[in-house]
């Protein structure tokens, strides 16, 4: 009886050891898909100042400042600005103005100032500077009062 207990106990012990030896590992697979993405955050709006000859109202002029937009993208998108269609001018300004929006970017993508669309093929983040210039030709001049224009920055 004593030897039976000893044999049974030893067998049980071996069985327990075997259990740990049978442990296996399994892989858990994680999948993720990111589609083309673009985020634009308007950081600051711009300010335009008038030139001494009163024929240019621009963020490039002395005292003016560009608007800034932060861009974050996965790549595979393009950046552009629309022609200006929304403007507010003082009543005294009755002559036509040509508005020219442009942008440049610094960061992952380096874009020289342009008004055309730029393809962004690689992922990254950039600070986009948006400028706007209004010009008058001939003898036309900007009038005193408040001017406002909206520039649309598009990522698509």
């Amino acid at each position: 009886m004593t030897s039976f207990r000893a044999v049974f106990g030893a067998a049980l012990l071996v069985a327990c050891i075997d259990q740990s030896a049978l442990a296996t590992t399994q892989n858990v697979i994680f999948n993720g898909t990111i589609t083309a993405t673009c985020t634009l955050v308007v950081a600051t709006n711009g300010t335009m100042t008038v030139s001494p000859d009163l024929q240019s109202l621009s963020s490039h002029n002395s005292g003016g400042s560009a608007g800034t937009v932060t861009l974050t993208t996965t790549g595979g998108v393009s950046l552009s600005v629309d022609p200006v269609t929304i403007t507010t001018v003082p009543a005294a300004d009755t002559t036509s103005t040509t508005w020219t929006p442009t942008y440049s970017a610094a960061g992952t993508h380096s874009i020289a100032e342009t008004g055309s669309a730029t393809s962004l093929g690689t992922p990254g983040a950039d600070l986009v500077s948006v400028n706007l210039a209004g010009t008058k030709g001939g003898s036309n001049r900007f009038a005193s009062g408040n001017y406002q224009a909206t520039v649309t920055v598009r990522c698509e």
Binding site: T35, A36, T39, V41, V130, V151, R154, E156
Partner: protein, 130 residues
């Protein structure tokens, strides 16, 4: 009935991306097959700002002319870092396929001399199956 069919189409072919914060709109690309006179796309505009903003959704054709699509909702307030689904139902207009841009536009901050409007546009291609 038409509404139900549209909804069914949307559920059948609606694009369901991985919703994530800090994206202005997702997805930005998609192809949709539809067996009806319309095709539907579900997009998720998001507000990456630290403040509540007003968002408008617009649909344009390839030449940026407005498209008479049904957008639900077309304008709404979005909390900081929030995202919400928007259903866009685009008519084929008798064509066998149609390319449209669905654009999320943020409303510029007021009282600035040069306002900047951020616009994120996705390109979507609808195919009508007979």
């Amino acid at each position: 009935m038409t509404h139900a069919r549209t909804l069914a189409t949307a559920l059948a072919v609606g694009l369901m991306p991985i919703a994530a914060a800090a994206q202005s709109m997702s997805p930005m690309r998609g192809e949709v097959n539809s067996f009806t006179d319309v095709f539907a796309v579900r997009v998720f505009p998001a507000n990456p700002y630290d403040q509540k903003i007003r968002v408008e959704i617009h649909v344009y054709d390839q030449d940026f002319q407005p498209v008479a699509a049904r957008i639900s909702p077309s304008a709404f307030q979005l909390a900081s870092q929030a995202s919400r689904p928007v259903l866009v139902v685009v008519p084929f207009g008798g064509a066998a396929e149609r390319k449209v841009r669905i654009c999320t536009e943020s409303i510029p901050f007021p009282n600035q001399q040069t306002q900047i409007k951020a616009q994120i546009c996705g390109k979507f291609f609808g195919h009508r199956k007979s």
